[in-house]
């Protein structure tokens, strides 16, 4: 981060900012008071809700109860409920209230019963015909009609439960008969079906929390970062203390870091306090409902009980990179704002972008994939969900793929914030009316030798969106080769060329069209050859871990079949991308990034954009290879100051990708290929070759990195 960071200054600034936040009533309310008040209030409403569940004892009218036999009994002694012994949990008997009626017209006609059910007088009616007692005693069979209304859901549920009860009662009668006839119990019941819920109670709870917790955690982390960020950055400008701070000996990086840590702590504190308060309230409610003793209460309790302590541990762990990312992003956004009010304007777009990324976790069928793990916010949310649901296998597999990108995004956002802080026009921005025409004119009139970082990102966006439109042109999908040529020339080559000539005063320097030295070309060729075994191995391992869909693979095989000859293949898959992608990514985009970013940031960012391009226009699995090659290519471009070593490297790399499997399979090379390859069909090298490849590449990269910087 620029020069050395004096952590004492960062700590001093952090302490002041944190104390400042604690003295701010608004922040205190948002971070501390709101969660403490909000969840108990919500808790009351939930308790009220569950109380209404408890009161719902269902009324069952029994007509002609005097016709029932004394034993086994269907009703309890008081004749106001069913016999508790018929329930698997005797307490459940309280769920039903029995009203005994003497036979009459009122409760025997369908119309009257329907009216009774609609009027809330009963949920179901059991008619006991006069001959029941006699039929049972004489080992006959009695009819026992239950009247209910299938259009009334609770009447239907009552019917099912009552039917279950009467079946158990029937079993009791059968038991008595078996005893009398001296037959074993299995005689009448050759098969017994029982349904058992296998989810442990903690996981039943997890299924609800697994959706709500990640959502709340992410939202709270974002909210907790946003308000303090606006206060410590835009508020500092508005209150006129920004200049006071800038003239102190603290460097810009130290100031940004101090503010960043303040915002990060606020973000984590907000999220944690919300979780703790919600968890405690949930625990209390679960306890109260469980103690109420009803079956519905027990079910509710398991649903509301908060996740296990281990889930909490994971959430806190993931909260760190998430809060870091949000804090850096919010600090950068808030630095751009001139006033608190302008800062608040940035909230809507920020939430609009973040919310869909979080809401994904609410959909039950969406689980972590490699693609999701790389999407900021979504990756963390889905990983949280997996952890809370106890899906540890997936969580382990995706832990690093989620953690590392999030940390990289946080670092980039932080660098962005520092860069913004270093810009006079951002820190001392004055209000001005914007006029599109004069702005466009100024773009062409006041050209700089190399593009700005903003126009580099614009070029990338242009490449991506053009590629999208080209894919929509009819006929492109049918002929993949033509599609590839058109998209490379029109979408990847054209934008940087046009922008370089339109917006910069030195397109040659921008696109690095200088002649390279022979040494540089040799170094590039050597690196391409030495890295190739590693590149192949990486591709293979990624494919093994995260296989591409079979449809995609079939499409690729189809594409390979359409190549008329090896020469054409080399031109289309090696030469063309080498030229177009290098001009775009190591030419225009890297030059733009380099103008306002440090070397490391520019290299990383350009490699990341290069990776994203491959994800979007090609296979997702290419991401890792593309990012790694993007890093090497960016170092090549910056160190040699020329595009051509990169073009050579890129060409050789792609050409080897095309030729290696062919060569490995070729019979004339078989003695050599046994020695080199462990799997000649896929062109995978022996471990020894891989080690040698890593060593040689390492040496070459060190030579390159340490070598003279020929960047003009």
């Amino acid at each position: 981060m620029g020069l050395t960071i004096r952590w004492w200054n960062v700590w001093t600034i952090f302490r002041r900012e944190a104390r400042d936040q604690l003295r701010d009533r608004r922040t205190l309310f948002m971070v501390l008071i709101l969660p403490l008040l909000l969840y108990p209030i919500l808790g009351f409403s939930i308790l009220q809700l569950s109380a209404t569940f408890d009161q719902k004892a269902r009324i069952v009218v029994v007509v002609g109860s005097e016709n029932l036999p004394a034993l086994p009994s269907l009703l309890n002694q008081a004749r106001d409920g069913f016999e508790p012994g018929l329930f698997s949990r005797p307490k459940d008997a309280e769920l039903f209230k029995v009203e005994v009626k003497t036979p009459g017209v009122d409760w025997q006609k369908a119309g009257a019963v329907r009216q009774g059910i609609r009027g809330g007088l009963a949920k179901a009616v059991i008619i006991v015909p006069p001959d029941v007692k006699q039929q049972i005693e004489s080992v006959g069979s009695a009819r026992l009609p239950i009247l209910y209304d299938s259009t009334d859901e609770s009447s239907q549920i009552t019917y099912l439960r009552v039917r279950e009860l009467i079946e158990r009662w029937r079993d009791e009668i059968v038991k008595v008969r078996l005893v009398v006839d001296k037959k074993p119990p299995g005689y009448t019941e050759p098969v017994e079906v029982t349904g058992e819920d296998v989810a442990p109670e903690s996981e039943i709870g997890g299924s609800i929390w697994g959706r709500i917790f990640p959502f709340l955690l992410v939202i709270m982390a974002l909210t907790g970062a946003f308000y303090p960020a606006v206060d410590v950055c835009a508020g500092e400008k508005e209150r006129g203390t920004m200049e006071t701070l800038l003239i102190s000996p603290a460097s810009r990086s130290e100031i940004v870091l101090g503010k960043f840590f303040t915002v990060m702590v606020a973000s984590m504190a907000t999220a944690l306090l919300n979780l703790v308060s919600m968890g405690l309230t949930g625990l209390q409610i679960a306890g109260q409902i469980a103690n109420s003793g009803t079956k519905a209460g027990g079910k509710m309790a398991t649903l509301i009980a908060p996740p296990s302590p281990s889930s909490y541990f994971w959430m806190m762990l993931l909260l760190i990179p998430l809060s870091a990312f949000f804090a850096a992003l919010c600090v950068a956004l808030a630095t751009m704002a001139r006033s608190m009010k302008e800062g608040q304007y940035y909230m809507t777009p920020l939430y609009l972008v973040s919310l869909p990324l979080i809401l994904v976790t609410l959909a039950p069928e969406i689980t972590l994939t490699l693609f999701y793990s790389l999407v900021p916010i979504t990756g963390v949310s889905l990983l949280l969900k997996a952890l809370i649901l106890g899906d540890y296998e997936n969580a382990r597999r995706f832990f690093l793929p989620v953690l590392l990108p999030t940390l990289v995004y946080a670092w980039l956002a932080l660098r962005w914030a520092v860069d913004l802080f270093n810009r006079e026009d951002v820190v001392f921005r004055e209000a001005e009316a914007f006029d599109l025409k004069s702005w466009l004119i100024s773009l062409v009139r006041d050209k700089d030798p190399t593009p700005s970082a903003g126009s580099a990102v614009f070029a990338f966006a242009l490449i991506i969106s053009l590629s999208w439109y080209v894919m929509q042109i009819p006929g492109m999908a049918e002929s993949p080769i033509r599609g590839m040529v058109v998209s490379h020339l029109a979408c990847i080559l054209a934008p940087p060329l046009i922008l370089a000539f339109l917006l910069t005063s030195n397109p040659i320097a921008t696109l690095r069209l200088r002649m390279p030295t022979l040494t540089d070309l040799g170094l590039a060729a050597g690196l391409a050859l030495s890295l190739n075994p590693l590149v192949r191995e990486l591709g293979y391992q990624v494919e093994k871990l995260f296989p591409a869909s079979s449809a995609l693979q079939a499409g690729l095989a189809d594409l390979a079949k359409q190549i008329p000859s090896l020469g054409v293949g080399l031109v289309i898959f090696a030469l063309m991308p080498a030229i177009t992608e290098e001009l775009a990514f190591r030419g225009y985009i890297l030059s733009g990034l380099r103008r306002s970013h440090s070397e490391a940031t520019s290299i990383l960012l350009s490699a990341l954009l290069f990776g994203i391009l491959h994800v979007l226009i090609s296979l997702f699995q290419q991401l890792f290879g593309a990012v790694l090659l993007g890093l090497v290519l960016a170092v090549l471009a910056l160190r040699t100051g020329s595009l051509w070593p990169g073009v050579l490297f890129h060409f050789l790399n792609n050409a080897l990708g095309l030729l290696t499997p062919e060569a490995a399979r070729h019979p004339s090379l078989s003695p050599l290929s046994i020695w080199l390859f462990r799997d000649s069909a896929d062109g995978l090298y022996q471990p020894g070759v891989l080690i040698a490849s890593a060593l040689i590449s390492g040496v070459l990269l060190v030579i390159l990195w340490r070598g003279p910087n020929r960047e003009p």
Binding site: D20, T244, I247, S438
Partner: protein, 261 residues
């Protein structure tokens, strides 16, 4: 102590292209003296002083303060200057004592020397009555004192005051000016910008009259009156402004400044 040589600063404006704010400004300042920058609003005073305080980077020329270049060694420059202007506000949610202590810490002062230094500053500025009061609750006069205390907490050899009295009532302005004079007597090198002729007459041993980004005249006040044959500073000032406005060719928009082309 302060050497400014051919300093220039242009801002980019998408309507007008490169707009010069400071053009070829040069001057020197010596310890124990106050150097005045006199000019109307928008003359380029604040831009010049912001460059000296390393907050802005010059687009041409150089400035050296206490032996350190403002571009190549901004950290060392900031450690050796105290800077106060109308736009260097104070933190509302801190007390006077906390605020001064905070900046003292950022200057790397150890707790014990810092406390001693602060005690003497608070005595000197008579701030002991309100050392525990939040800045938000202070009167303008108190706030100015806190600002001065903040500016001098690390005992810098060079002090830069950018219109320190603008917007103050006469009583507060008088206190501020008296304190600046006392600092001069302690041997500090001081730059003081203002649009008030009266303040220059009272305080400055040398003055540069600046208008439209350029130094129109520089020297001791009395010597300047002699040189241009004017009776007082006010007449001299209007005379120079009229001269500058006549020379339109100096003021036209220039190309991109050196170092950016």
């Amino acid at each position: 102590m302060i050497q400014v040589e051919h300093l220039s600063k242009s801002f980019r404006d998408y309507r007008k292209g490169w707009v010069p704010a400071v053009v070829d400004v040069s001057f020197d300042c010596q310890p124990g003296a106050i150097f005045g920058l006199l000019g109307p609003n928008g003359a380029g005073k604040t831009t010049t002083l912001r460059i000296l305080s390393t907050v802005l980077r010059p687009t041409g020329g150089r400035a050296v303060i206490a032996g350190h270049d403002v571009v190549t060694n901004p950290g060392a420059v900031r450690a050796n200057i105290g800077y106060m202007s109308a736009s260097t506000g104070i933190y509302d949610r801190m007390t006077a004592w906390e605020l001064v202590e905070y900046f003292g810490r950022l200057y790397g002062m150890k707790p014990e020397p810092l406390r001693e230094r602060m005690e003497s500053i608070f005595d000197w500025l008579q701030m002991n009555d309100f050392r525990g009061v939040l800045c938000a609750k202070m009167s303008t006069g108190m706030r100015q004192k806190v600002s001065i205390a903040r500016t001098i907490v690390h005992d810098p050899p060079v002090l830069i005051f950018d219109e320190p009295t603008s917007g103050l009532d006469v009583l507060v302005a008088r206190i501020v000016l008296r304190k600046i004079a006392e600092l001069r007597d302690q041997g500090k090198t001081i730059i003081f910008s203002t649009h008030s002729m009266h303040e220059v007459e009272k305080l400055c041993s040398r003055v540069a009259i600046i208008h439209k980004g350029r130094v129109q005249a520089e020297g001791e006040p009395l010597e300047l009156l002699d040189r241009f044959g004017q009776p007082d500073l006010e007449e001299l000032f209007f005379h120079l402004v009229a001269l500058a406005d006549g020379e339109k060719e100096n003021l036209e928009i220039v190309g991109p400044p050196r170092g950016l082309a």
